[in-house]
Symmetry: C2
């Protein structure tokens, strides 16, 4: 709750966009080759944030959009009454701040859940790029559209199903997002606490814990500390798809 700005600059070797592992997902993805160096020059790279610090706060003026490079962030909505609820997580390759362009103000707090690094593209440089390079216009629109689509899809997951289905769907969603970004998708470390997951899903953390136990018992996945292993993908998909998970009847679960 003390100060919360980013912790100074460039503590990393500053890999140019051309060499970045996320280049395929980040803005340069659809940029013509000759436009990339220019983009690369305008981006502030290698910013880091240690766990618990804010990337931005609700009400803050929008100064830049951020691209997560490593780590995990949570997007938090705080009600006037003071209650917090997690409305989303940001994984490597995802962009923070697009929803704030319209009002020029952030609507949520964004907080690092673990030591994370990110790149920043200041608003005026973004505007400049959009005005001057056709590829960048296309790409910004494409990224926003994609984000919109993903958000929609994520809303369907929240359509009140059983708790186990929700947790399964969450794990699956995470797995898919990691895979799409070229990261391990069947064995990974969760950046977030389960209590954050609970808040995100609208459940209590006890229920999440129980659901996990059930999924573990049915051999769908394994969870030790914060390391998750998907043991049976298709089963996971079935459970996530709404069909309850065989908790009480450990034998036959949706053949």
């Amino acid at each position: 709750m003390g100060d919360s700005r980013q912790t100074g600059s460039t503590t990393q070797p500053a890999v140019a966009c051309e060499q970045c592992g996320l280049a395929r997902i980040c803005f340069p993805a659809a940029l013509p080759l000759h436009e990339i160096p220019r983009f690369s020059r305008l981006v502030r790279r290698g910013r880091t944030l240690s766990a618990g610090l804010h990337l931005c706060r609700a009400g803050d003026e929008l100064q830049a959009v951020y691209i997560v490079r490593a780590g995990t962030l949570k997007v938090v909505h705080t009600t006037p009454a003071g209650a917090e609820s997690v409305v989303g997580f940001c994984l490597p390759g995802e962009v923070v701040g697009l929803d704030a362009i319209a009002n020029q103000r952030h609507a949520h707090d964004v907080i690092a859940l673990e030591h994370s690094s990110y790149c920043a593209l200041s608003l005026d440089k973004l505007q400049q790029l959009v005005e001057q390079t056709p590829g960048m216009r296309q790409e910004l629109i494409r990224v926003m559209s994609r984000t919109l689509g993903e958000t929609h899809q994520r809303m369907t997951l929240l359509a009140r199903q059983g708790a186990r289905a929700l947790v399964a769907a969450f794990v699956l969603d995470l797995s898919v997002r990691l895979e799409r970004r070229g990261l391990a998708s069947s064995r990974f470390r969760l950046g977030m606490r389960w209590r954050d997951v609970a808040s995100y899903l609208g459940l209590t953390f006890e229920t999440v814990s129980r659901s996990l136990a059930a999924l573990r018992r049915s051999g769908v996945l394994q969870a030790k500390a914060r390391y998750l292993t998907v043991m049976n993908r298709t089963l996971l998909e079935n459970v996530a798809g709404g069909a309850g998970c065989g908790d009480q009847k450990p034998s036959g679960v949706i053949p």
Copy 2:
């Protein structure tokens, strides 16, 4: 389930954008004055759709973005198993198809809930406008950002609260959206069935019905047929804010 394309063209007098009541919310909102006529010329106006017909289907190639002019549409996700769930509603002034730009394909069915009218801006014309007019780039990005923000905000509403809070929040959201578009916000007709609302909120329609009854009993709102009257806005906000609604104790409700 028969055919489902739009019902031919221009059955309305085709009001130019400059005279349209929604001009303040639609794309022309932030367009410089001299760019509006050009925009107006490229838009296909006055398309209509009667209740139950599809504006587009999941998997369809994206051919145009649509701006709702009158009526109400629902956005539906159909699971592989065949179960339908409503993921959103489109009100006058809102844009359909922005989330499909990235993949060039629609991800959901969009279905008219009542006789509705809309304008269409074909994809190539949109692209042309974006390339050639600076105001339109700005505006498209602004609209997408706004939509993204609204979607985020709507997700927070779904953060599993009590059923009455959910229903109250839904009514409030609807009221705010209508108000922002210059329509009556305290007495209006719902375009959607309550069962669609139930699906959207992840509840059964019985529970929605009960919640409505509770809200009616507490004097928060009145509902006859599909006509809704908000009787006490602040109380509605309180109930929506998570504090349960005084159902069992009709006397003191959050002073």
